[in-house]
Amino acid sequence: MHEFSIAVNIVEIAEETAKLHHAEKISGIVLEIGEASGIVPEALEMAMQSAVKNTMLENAKITFIYIPAKAICNDCNKEFNPDNLIAVCPHCSSFNVTITSGKEMRVKSIEID
């Protein structure tokens, strides 16, 4: 259940940013979550519901953008979409691959009034 820690961190980042802009409420937040980030989407969505209570995000619309995992093979240089962290190159069966995207867990933007 590290998703709850992450949700609390997300709320902190959003509130910190909103305060810098002298806002009192946050009406929306956009989160970017990679498929290989180690976050279970349902768990994070549930955790966010709890984490926003009594915060500036209480009634905010939360948008989750899930980013597909991408990897590049260091042996044959071809790009592919791995199923998960256990990335095997489908072209040359190499395990020597680098995940190039899909590990994000980012607060992309917030909306204030």
Partner: protein, 266 residues
Amino acid sequence: MCDTCGCSNNSGYTIITSSGGHTHHGDDHQHPHTHPHQHDHGNEENHSHHHHSGKIIEVEKDALYHNNLLAERNRGFFEAKNIVALNLVSSPGAGKTLLLEKTVQSRQVKRIISVIEGDQQTTRDADRIKSAGVPVVQVNTGSGCHLDASMVHSALKELQPPDNSILMIENVGNLVCPAMFDLGETARVVVISVTEGEDKPLKYPYMFQSSHVCIINKTDLLPHLDFNLDELKNNALKINHHLQFFEISLRSGTGLENWLEWLNKQ
């Protein structure tokens, strides 16, 4: 609700206990949420905002930005004092505490060792380490399932590890959550025992991917098990081909010397 793991145990809190017995409660846990609440969310990208008057502010910050920032402060502290900080992770019962005890008791490590013990409750592990004769601080995470950079930061103030020493941070026994939290460590050491199954690295890839060293413990039990050591290693290497292995029986001491040698080279 607990800030750290989301469990509903309202007594969840972090406690730092030094080997001298001094205790204080961390103030980074709050439990203010009591009333039920619903709001809309989902995988929506159509941007049909209800608040057209709203102003969008680009944030572009990692969700663990605060933890990562504090982890870098810890890392800077370790570098400045030439401290080798190791983050020991494993499932419960793999042998992290025994590894610490055997390492200390060997008297073969050239540097001074100090220890931060992470557990949900009790000072049992800290008591074990203390009787082995090294400075130790216990961090109780309450209902939390992992150590984070701020807990280590607080524990460091209590422990005050000396220059040129080794700091062993024993994380909470859990192969999932601790993988996500950088503590500022120099290296991450995952301990797995041969009773756990060869497929553990595939089931818990994040932990094995983020580790530098893998200690395979309880090798004295191998004759009694249908356990394929090569298969475990191959599975771990699929996740992380840089992983360095040590096969150890902490019970008999077999293989411990290779680990001690590695420690002395750090």
